[in-house]
């Protein structure tokens, strides 16, 4: 399974001419530092305004904004649905549920038009908010809240805790592992977004690193000896942060996956 990634890395440490004449390389070359420096800090693209580093920052903003935004919004909503009895509760539940049915990809064109109409093209808001509109997080939290024993709430109410106090002092601390697991899943999901950023960002200074891959291919088509090394280096750079997060939090992540299965 790891083979292609290793070959991609070793090949990226050679120069383009070697790769062009000799094929992909299994043994690391001596071009590691120049290639990766070029990918990270040299200004590329058509307008020469974007560096690999800048794209990494954009990806981080997208990943963090998406994960944190989603957790806040969906925790509040799940709290309302599980712990409150109110007339429109069932309706709200079904509206939220309906978003699970349709991924952004199937309504991509009208979503683009809406975001364009709101003047949000090439903004972080426009990049992040439409992705948050799917309520997967709400359902993870709803399932989790439903498994919290009733006695906790009853005890808290006897002690005179109101809804906000119960939420902050009991529910949030209790959900810590759940929050962490969802954070990892959502961060990776946000970081790896591709189709939406392609449409949303025409201004290169808003490119994410995954989006940047498409650009590098288009430069590649025109040249005589394609920059295989730089393309592969960018791929390695693009995969490192999500991989690092997943591995670092592996235990929690598996727990989250297994729980989400229910």
């Amino acid at each position: 399974m790891m083979g292609p990634i290793v070959v991609a890395f070793t090949t990226s440490t050679h120069d383009a001419v070697t790769i062009h004449s000799g094929g992909m390389q299994l043994i690391p070359g001596d071009n590691l530092v120049p290639t990766y420096t070029a990918v990270l800090f040299e200004e590329g693209g058509f307008t020469k305004t974007v560096t690999g580093w800048g794209m990494l920052i954009n990806s981080t903003i997208l990943g963090l904004g998406f994960a944190i935004g989603k957790i806040i919004v969906s925790m509040l909503a799940a709290y309302a649905i599980v712990y409150f009895r109110f007339p429109l509760g069932t309706l709200a539940f079904w509206v939220i549920f309906s978003t699970l049915l349709l991924p952004l990809e199937v309504r991509i064109l009208p979503s683009y038009e809406v975001v364009q109409g709101l003047g949000l093209l090439n903004t972080y808001t426009g990049l992040i908010l439409p992705l948050i509109a799917s309520a997967t997080g709400t359902f993870f939290f709803r399932q989790f809240f439903k498994s919290v024993p009733n006695e906790l709430l009853e005890a808290a109410r006897i002690d005179g805790a109101g809804p906000l106090r119960f939420f902050w002092d009991i529910l949030v601390p209790l959900s810590r592992t759940m929050i962490a697991a969802i954070f990892i899943i959502m961060f990776v999901l946000g970081w790896n977004q591709y189709l939406w950023p392609i449409l949303m960002t025409t201004d290169e200074s808003f490119y994410t690193v995954v989006r940047g891959i498409r650009q590098i291919l288009q430069v590649w088509i025109g040249s005589n000896i394609p920059d295989y090394n730089e393309a592969l280096a960018l791929a390695i750079v693009a995969m490192l942060p999500p991989v690092a997060i997943v591995i670092f939090f592996q235990r929690m992540f598996i727990k989250g996956l297994v729980e989400s299965e229910k």
């Binding site: 399974m1 599980v82 995954v210 891959i213 592996q250």
Partner: protein, 293 residues
């Protein structure tokens, strides 16, 4: 299920407000718009619209290129789902027998999970590149001149290989945790009753894994439908030409390149109905499984 609840009147609405606002603006509105414009023929140059009823639908479904894309999507989804599940199951059974799951290769598999589809596509296209691709060189030894990006089925095979590779790890992790949750007692009882390991696997272990498999099947179908967009786009270098694409890719092509808003919307709505059916199956399954546990 009984759950003690608050009856405070305003709080729940305030708590729901952010979620509802986002859903209304970025989900309900565009979805309604997709359904509406699927009934209109729009002129991209003058901005005028004519009501055409179901014409966009009949037009989309009867066009030969749509059927070709639909067939390809079906084959692509079936192959990716079946092969990645099969390989993941074989790997999971092997891993389960050897060391009951604790191992560095679990970490290694996690790597592949976390990679973005377009990144996988980029690595894939290098492996299948005319000049430098080791896979192309390898199959050339058997007399197969592979031309990804030029030949329809060569591209299709390359895309399936990359999409499958990317999906095996997640299936593996689920299968492995499914296998490890089978109680030891069950295995020992089975071992006493039935000496043949393979028949033991098919009669005892595999049925116990069936809920996991079904769940994974739906996850994989969704993956093959939607998330492979990045793989396909990168492997075709954004220039599909005469190459294989999936239905989701076609929605994108017709809407943004072809400016066929009505046709693209009609295709979106067809996809919506399909996903809707799939999700209902999935949700019913999930709800039922909650009762077991």
């Amino acid at each position: 299920m009984y759950k003690a609840q608050f009856t405070t009147p305003i709080y729940p609405y305030l708590l729901l407000l952010p979620q509802m606002a986002i859903i209304a603006i970025f989900f309900l509105w565009p979805s309604a718009e997709a359904i509406r414009s699927s009934f209109f023929l729009s002129d991209p140059f003058f901005g005028s619209e004519t009501f055409v009823g179901f014409e966009n639908y009949t037009d989309a479904v009867t066009r030969s290129d749509y059927m070709r894309v639909a067939w390809f999507t079906l084959i692509f989804t079936a192959v990716v789902t079946f092969v990645s599940l099969a390989i993941a199951l074989i790997l999971a059974v092997a891993a389960d027998n050897v060391l009951r799951g604790q191992g560095p290769y679990k970490t290694l598999l996690m790597w592949v999970y976390a990679i973005a589809p377009p990144v996988a596509g980029l690595i894939g296209i290098m492996l299948f590149d005319q000049h430098i691709g080791p896979i192309v060189r390898f199959v050339a030894l058997f007399g197969w001149e592979m031309q990804v990006g030029v030949d329809y089925w060569d591209s299709a095979i390359a895309m399936m290989v990359v999409a499958t590779w990317k999906q095996i790890p997640i299936n593996f992790i689920f299968f492995l945790s499914g296998l490890q949750s089978i109680p030891k007692g069950v295995r020992e009882a089975a071992a006493i009753d039935n000496p043949s390991p393979s028949s033991r696997f098919w009669t005892i272990i595999f049925p116990l894994l069936a809920p996991t498999s079904f769940f994974l099947m739906i996850i994989n179908i969704t993956y093959a439908f939607f998330e492979t967009f990045g793989i396909i786009d990168v492997m075709l270098k954004g220039e599909p030409g005469n190459n294989p694409v999936t239905l989701v890719y076609k929605v994108f092509l017709d809407g943004f390149r072809g400016n066929d808003l009505g046709g693209s919307s009609a295709q979106s709505v067809i996809l919506m109905i399909f996903v809707l059916a799939l999700t209902i199956v999935q949700f019913r399954l999930i709800e039922r499984r909650v009762h077991y546990v």
